[in-house]
Amino acid sequence: MLSMTAVEVSYDEPVLHGIDLEVGPGEIVCILGPSGGGKSTLLRAVAGLVDHTGSIAVAGRSLAGVPAHRRGVGMMFQDDLLFPHLDVASNVGFGLSRQDPQRVAQMLELVGLAGYEHRAVDTLSGGQAQRVALARALAPEPDVLLLDEPFGALDVVLKAQLVREVQQVLRDRGVTVLAVTHDRHEAFTMADRVAVLRAGELVQVATADELWNKPVDAYVARLVGLSVLDGVAYPPEELRITAQGRWALQVTGRTFLDGRYLVSGVVDGESVTFGSDARSLPAVGQTVHIDRVDPAG
């Protein structure tokens, strides 16, 4: 549905180098990477908001020379960018070629805000505003929807809830999505495939499972939450405290997350996270020895 070949963007210096990426119909691809890695620039290139070289095509149609407003590409921005002088209905209907109250109502219902038509946008909560922004982006039925850190400005609880809701809406409607985030939880929750972007280059494009099981390098391994020890990546459940463990670890933190205890620490400057049971939980500041265990055994 969306295909990019050798896309490059330069401001004063190159920001994106030769990006090749395919997003299939109805697929949700999430670009994951640190801030300043060129993620937003890639979306802006697809939307036609920055100049680029290389080719971008949507539904087989090349977008070369097509201005932003004729690309049939929708976009949701980090801070909702709802137009403050228009009410909710006018915002949602902004991208429609003619007034269509029925469609506006339908879109608002889709995002769980039925009846909000005549509210002023500055009376909405952060979550409501983002849902209106989603309704506005989906109303013109874009071929591809771009999400630029759409949940970046929300608090953790609201974000978790909204990520699931938005994903549901997008799946139900079979929308083709290219999203951008620096939050791996968000990426793994939403995406069919995750594209890891570092310093303007795509390092690995794969499903979450593949990223966890076969990260191409230590950078990707760390990004997806694995611990890298002596050049090998370990998931949390494969590391345990044992008296004769190969690695000496200084404990820096402990938490209880998703039904298990996690310990974080440092081995020779490398951050490591592993699981523990409640009874053998080490104290912060303590040095323990850890080693690989077979989670199955």
Binding site: R70, V73, G74, F77, L81, P84
Partner: protein
């Protein structure tokens, strides 16, 4: 984009001012030096500074409590009061002077005659300028997070220490900036001193006019102009370094007053502010209908009787002349000022752009009389004689209005988030339709406010206009000053009637601005 406003200012401001000095130098540089060195000149300069200092102090004294109450407390009618305190600022100086003449003049309503004394000037200047302090200081107060003081308290600071080390330093730039602006306005004030001074009070500005118009001593006027300009440039250099700092969040931190002391304080300040603002305006209407303590409409009749042979001033056509010139000047100021604001907003503020910013503000702090005189000298005689075209007044008034236009439009333009245009583009709007559908409605309030300010300023402009208005076809402020200067109870009543008309036109403009959210106006 910046070329047009810069050229406009150079031609319309620098050339006329230079013309004043050239005439002075041509007729006799030694005479100029003599004037500048004379004891009388320094006496006038001393009085000019004195009245400006007193006026500034009085303005701060009255305005600061009002600024504090309006920014700190939420109470019914707060929005109305906030709009009301802006009214005096846009009132023409001649109208204000007439009002205070009616209050504290020889036959004043308050029974004390302060005309011809410095205190009359102080009161009128205070009335004119309270809005400056309330807006500049208020905008800082209103956004000052009360938690900052709380943070200081939990760090061990006493109430007084927290105020001295946190609140006061945050407030100081705004206080200094507003005080300097008020001082500058009072320093170059013309209409008020001319009308209220009763010929006895001489500030530099009035003396420049007197030397030119009555004594026809151009070198003396030029010397005084130069002296004044030097003083103003020195002060502007200080103002330029001290913008009012905002403490960050744009959240309205006002709260409801608690307890009888706070409520009483709020009520007292509100009542006092309303009285200070409305009493001078009301007295104008009263005096236009009163002769010798009797109610009569002869003043208004005289105002609307055209072609009366005893009446050298035709106030009715003065209204038309005022509307005509102010309309043209507003249009011109919006065009030139708009270009300046656009250029300043979208090209950063580094390097030489800062000096363009300062250049745009220059007419605000400069003697209007000097500008008027300069324009007459530069463009009022062959080879370029524009005197009878009416064009000179329009140009001079536009020049005076440009700083206001720039001050309102530039922040609005630079505050406009251009990503709204991106959002409109990805929703299928072409660039033109995105501008029309998003940028225009979002910027319209600022445009209306800028135009309103420009219109109010131009229609009340007196200092430059008094030189440039043709004797047969004066604008309203000029007509009012002439009527006030002539003997006869009926003429004076007619002067007040004309003042009332001018006041109503100005008030209508302010109300119109208020309808598009006056609170968005970023003055100064």
């Amino acid at each position: 984009m910046l070329v047009v406003p810069v050229v406009f200012l150079l031609v319309m401001f620098v050339v006329p001012v230079a013309a004043v000095f050239r005439v002075g130098l041509e007729t006799g540089p030694s005479q100029m030096l003599e004037v500048m060195g004379a004891g009388r000149t320094w006496q006038i300069l001393g009085f000019t500074v004195l009245q400006a200092v007193l006026s500034t102090a009085a303005t701060m004294l009255v305005a600061l409590p009002a600024a504090f109450v309006l920014a700190t407390f939420r109470f019914p009618g707060r929005g109305l009061i906030r709009a009301l305190v802006l009214v005096p600022f846009v009132m023409p100086t001649v109208v204000v002077a007439a009002a205070f003449l009616a209050l504290i003049g020889p036959t004043g309503a308050l029974g004390v005659d302060l005309s011809g004394s410095v205190w009359g000037l102080v009161l009128a200047h205070m009335f004119l300028n309270i809005a400056v302090v309330i807006r500049v200081v208020g905008s800082v107060l209103a956004t000052m997070d009360p938690r900052l003081e709380e943070a200081a308290r939990v760090l061990g600071a006493s109430r007084w220490t927290a105020w001295r080390r946190v609140t006061w330093p945050l407030l100081r730039p705004a206080l200094r900036a507003s005080a300097l602006i008020v001082f500058l306005f009072c320093f170059t004030s013309f209409g008020v001193v001319q009308v209220l001074g009763a010929g006895q009070l001489r500030t530099l500005e009035v003396e420049i006019y007197r030397q030119t118009a009555y004594l026809l001593d151009l070198p003396a006027a030029a010397a005084l102009s130069l002296l004044q300009l030097l003083a103003v440039v020195a002060m502007l250099a200080v103002v330029g370094n001290s913008g009012g700092a905002r403490t960050g969040n744009a959240v309205d931190v006002a709260r409801a007053p608690v307890g009888w002391r706070q409520r009483g304080g709020v009520a007292a300040v509100v009542v006092l502010t309303v009285v200070v603002v409305l009493a001078p305006l009301a007295i104008i209407v009263v005096r236009s209908l009163m002769i010798d303590g009797r109610l009569t409409t002869v003043g208004w009749q005289m105002l609307f009787s055209q072609g009366d042979s005893t009446n050298a001033v035709d106030p009715f056509s003065a209204v038309l002349a005022s509307l005509r010139t102010a309309g043209g000047a507003t249009l011109l100021a919006m065009l030139v000022g708009g270009m300046a604001a656009f250029g300043l907003a979208f090209r950063g503020r580094g390097g030489w752009l800062r000096s363009v910013d300062a250049l745009m503000l220059l007419p605000l702090g400069t003697s209007a009389v000097t500008v008027g005189l300069g324009m007459l000298l530069a463009f009022g005689r062959p080879p370029l004689d524009l005197r009878n075209t009416g064009l000179l007044i329009v140009l001079a008034q536009a020049l005076v209005a440009i700083p206001f236009v720039v001050r309102v439009l530039a922040p609005a333009l630079s505050g406009f988030d251009r990503r709204y245009l991106d959002a409109a583009a990805v929703l299928g709007r072409s660039p033109v339709r995105a501008l029309a559908g998003v940028a225009v409605p979002l910027l319209l309030p600022a445009v209306v406010v800028a135009a309103g300010f420009a219109f109010a300023v131009t229609i009340g402009e007196f200092g430059a206009t008094v030189f440039l208005a043709s004797p047969a076809d004066p604008t309203l402020p000029v007509a009012i000053s002439r009527l006030l200067a002539r003997p006869g109870e009926v003429t004076v009543a007619a002067a007040y009637a004309a003042s009332a008309v001018l006041m109503l036109i100005t008030a209508a403009v302010v109300v119109g601005m208020d309808r598009v959210r006056l609170s968005r106006a970023v003055a100064f």
